[in-house]
């Protein structure tokens, strides 16, 4: 990733962003279109490709993005492989032994990314989102990368178009020096309609659930706030590389240590490489 123009000037990233797609969910609220055997992220709901494929195609620029890591459920491994093949892309596929929340997936993503490059920026993306302005997504990635390079854990915020009650909100804080990012004053869960209207009036942003961090920073934060989970991740790290210990916590990082261990075991021993 060469020098890029951001809202605050040119930044130089020494390496590519490592995209991590999380697509292990079953999306059964959209049943029967989305169902256990074919969740919504693999269905071409809008357009000719599934949102999983559309997400991959947004990160296809090899100058900016490294080979993606796809974290999915064992049930979907063939769908993932086939849909990758359809669009001519490759990825490292990590299979969850069972469905988990995003916390263990983030921990595994950080561990795997750190193996490639401890200071690489990791871009975690949901595979079931629609992005109608891909060029703005790329611009946001550049802006986020600038803040990530300074050690921040960045989430992508969306200006609300309505007082939605189905999204979490973020109250932005002060502008961060030298980066097109704001500090986070508060994360708030899905509000009722009255509260949502107030949030919109007070310039809160929707929390898109997509975020970016440096692998070593995230692992350090996990160590600080979720030590049991970090310990499980660290076992994998020691087993497969050097032995530095990490660090944090975002709301996403919440899971029992054994869950991480199982996921890490899978990431380490059963990550399969689709070619």
């Amino acid at each position: 990733m060469g020098p890029r123009r951001t809202a605050t000037g040119w930044v130089s990233m020494s390496s590519q962003l490592i995209p991590v797609l999380m697509c292990g969910g079953s999306g059964t609220r959209l049943w029967p279109v989305s169902r256990e055997s074919m969740p919504k992220q693999f269905v071409p709901l809008v357009g000719d490709r599934s949102t999983f494929q559309q997400t991959l195609m947004r990160i296809a620029d090899g100058a900016m993005f490294a080979r993606p890591i796809v974290i999915t459920n064992t049930d979907f491994r063939f769908i993932v492989a086939e849909q990758l093949r359809e669009i001519g892309m490759e990825a490292d596929i990590v299979l969850e032994p069972m469905r988990r929340d995003s916390g263990p997936a983030v921990a595994v993503a950080a561990v795997l990314a750190e193996r490639r490059d401890p200071q690489a920026a990791v871009l975690v993306l949901a595979a079931d989102h629609i992005v109608r302005k891909p060029e703005e997504f790329i611009a946001a990635c550049h802006n986020a990368a600038a803040a990530v390079a300074k050690g921040h854990i960045v989430t992508f915020g969306i200006r609300p178009t309505a007082p939605a009650t189905s999204y979490g909100y973020i109250r932005p804080g002060a502008k961060l020096n030298g980066a097109a990012a704001l500090s986070v004053d508060a994360f708030v869960e899905k509000p009722d309609a009255t509260t949502a209207a107030r949030y919109v009036a007070e310039d809160y942003l929707w929390n898109s659930g997509n975020f970016m961090f440096r692998a070593d920073v995230m692992l350090d934060e996990i160590t600080r706030f979720e030590p049991a989970m970090a310990e499980a991740a660290a076992r994998r790290r020691r087993a497969h590389a050097g032995s530095r210990l990490p660090a944090p916590r975002t709301r996403a990082v919440r899971a029992r240590a054994e869950e991480v261990d199982r996921l890490c075991d899978h990431g380490a021993h059963q990550a399969c490489r689709h070619r």
Binding site: G27, R29, L30, P32, V33, K40, V43, P44, L45, V46, D48, T51, A126, D128, H129, I130, V131, R132, K133, P134, E136, F137, A139, A140, N143, A144, A147, G151, H152, I153, V154, T155, F156, G157, I158, R159, A164, S166, Y167, I170, P172, L176, A180, A181, L182, S183, V184, F187, L205, W206, S208, G209, V217, E221, R224, F225, P248, R249, T250, R251
Partner: protein
């Protein structure tokens, strides 16, 4: 609950929506290709 002090936010005007959470099912249905629609419109 203690949280990281490193959190930051970048606003992204990228035309984003979460299919499941952000749209009424009828809206999704109307956007879908006919062959992927469920038999009964909600």
């Amino acid at each position: 609950m203690e949280r990281t002090k490193l959190a930051a936010i970048v606003e992204a005007d990228m035309g984003w929506s979460d299919v499941e959470a952000g749209m009424p099912y009828g809206t999704i249905w109307s956007m879908m290709r006919p062959e992927t629609r469920c038999p009964v419109r909600p």
